[in-house]
Symmetry: C2
Subunit: 332 residues, 2 copies
């Protein structure tokens, strides 16, 4: 890590290093979200895209392509592709979750309506599909098709597993892959395929993206119970929304009959009373559910960093390692 | 047309001729809608798929592939692909239209919920995407990506053009392409590409599918005002639902200020009173809006049949011509 980057968060350092290419991605997104006849499409897309977010997925694609010595321009198309897929997912998620806020602004389903969010999401997905076809690599199309299926299956799974106390850690992991890791790993993998890397290196890129994504999501779920308000998360939101996240899954599995009754009432039935959050926190503590969750996040981040060892020695490789560290630093 | 087929509707004759292949498509659909962890997915898909429908899109792909002498098995994959895309669209449409019935059964959004319909629709689309990637033809992927974008853009357009009296026939046509014609033409086109047809013949297949789809939709919109109850359509449903279909677009364009006020009140604002449907029918009659709509449907069917002239002489070609005739026979 050099001096300048030390003062920046790793994704900001990447964004600075890849500034020109990110600019090209932004321009391509603006061009492709246009619709001659249906102005509602660019309106809604711009609402989301302009709100920013860290753009971590397109950054990953650009970073990997650069790290692996790719010299063409198709990584711009693929970076825009993953951002379109991500944006499409957000639009549908906000309808499904009945969310009112996203990236600090009212959601599209609130500003326009659910119908628009559903249909514009479909449109963005089809635009992503067109972009990736333009790149003309069947192997890349295969990676992105499989990622799309994992994302969609994970979303359905999350819906049907919600409030189901028999949800296992295996199912949780599959949901997390759908929510986050599948698109992270596709984003890194396609960058390497584009650069013509061998199978082992491509597998390593997949592992890095997957482990980074899983770690990221576990940290998020940890922070909801273990974080401080300063981080902008309200302790217990997931509890109030009856989400079966990893800490709760662990506590439920380790609890006795009486405790399972508590979880069945509060999460299963949603019958929550004063003091229940405190009681939930005590149970998480008693069963070491939070510290074990924290350890799992660290393990996944470690796995991500280990995968990088098989990849070309390059300043970007160090930045990707920093990114894995940064993700879990939030829980320290 | 031989004796047996004369007694059958053209799509039933096609379905009989291609029975084995349709069986293989049905089996592939069942296989690919499975989900190990999320049983909600096959439940919802089966609810729609088992309800039947004419399966006209996969039939078109199979028919064209056979007509053009294709001897492989990828047409089964592509037929399943177009049916998956179609089913995904139906799931999202029913949420957007707040429909309660589809193919004579309660809709999935009613039996389960909107969330499931949205996410299972996304899942089916991603499964379609995987299937078409397996076929391994970039040209076919390009055709299906473009069709998907046309479908999605048409859907948004339909939403934003709804109740907008300034909607032109050009916009109407684009909506119709999104609703019906884009997937019809992709279904026929990919069959020909698979069989290795030349560019002119592939273009002719596109024209046939497109014109058939447009004609089909115009007939539907005609029947809503011009049909008889015996056909199972209730006269005036579109009027009550304030849909701007071709007959109304024509009547609005040809009406005077007073008539435009009538349309603005009934369709634009949805303020409908006793006698309004009768008044609307009178205006359609006065401006020859229905007879001109009927003529357009006939013209499109004619265009579909003309396109077939450039294609291989084959019994299936005659059945496809019969299908174009059959679509418009409903208005005679």
């Amino acid at each position: 890590m050099n001096k300048v980057e030390q003062t920046l968060k790793p994704h900001d350092a990447l964004a600075r290093m890849l500034g020109d290419e990110m600019g090209a991605v932004t321009a391509l997104i603006a061009e492709r979200m246009a619709s001659r006849h249906a102005p509602r499409i660019p309106e809604i897309t711009a609402h989301l895209v302009d709100a920013g977010g860290k753009r971590i997925r397109p950054l990953l694609t650009l970073a990997v392509a650069r790290m692996c010595g790719y010299s063409g321009t198709d990584h711009i198309r693929l970076a825009a592709t993953v951002e379109f897929i991500h944006t499409a997912t957000l639009l549908h998620d906000d309808v499904v979750d009945e969310s009112g806020k996203r990236r600090g602004r009212p959601t599209a389903n609130l500003l326009w309506d659910n119908k628009s969010s559903i249909l514009v999401g479909d449109y963005l997905f089809s635009r992503a599909f067109q972009l990736m076809v333009e790149v003309g690599s069947l192997r890349i199309l295969d990676i992105l098709a499989n990622a799309s299926a994992t994302i969609a299956e994970g979303e359905v799974l999350q819906l049907t597993a919600a409030q189901d106390l028999s949800t296992t850690e295996e199912i949780y992991l599959q949901i997390v892959r759908g929510k986050t890791a599948a698109l992270f790993s596709a984003a890194t993998e396609v960058g390497g395929v584009l650069a013509g890397l061998g199978d082992d290196a491509v597998r390593a890129l997949h592992t890095y993206g997957d482990a980074l994504g899983v770690s990221f999501q576990i940290v998020d779920d940890y922070l909801d119970y273990g974080g401080t308000e300063a981080l902008g998360k309200n302790t217990g939101d997931d509890f109030r929304e009856r989400k079966l996240t990893l800490p709760v899954i662990k506590a439920v599995a380790r609890g006795d009959a009486q405790e399972r009754e508590f979880w069945a009432r509060t999460i299963g039935k949603g019958d929550q009373r004063d003091g229940d959050l405190k009681q939930a926190m005590d149970l998480l503590e008693r069963h070491r559910a939070l510290s074990d969750t924290r350890q799992e996040a660290l393990d996944w981040a470690g796995k991500a960093k280990t995968a990088l060892e098989d990849l070309p020695d390059h300043p970007i490789r160090n930045m990707l390692a920093d990114l894995a560290d940064y993700v879990v630093q939030r829980i320290n």
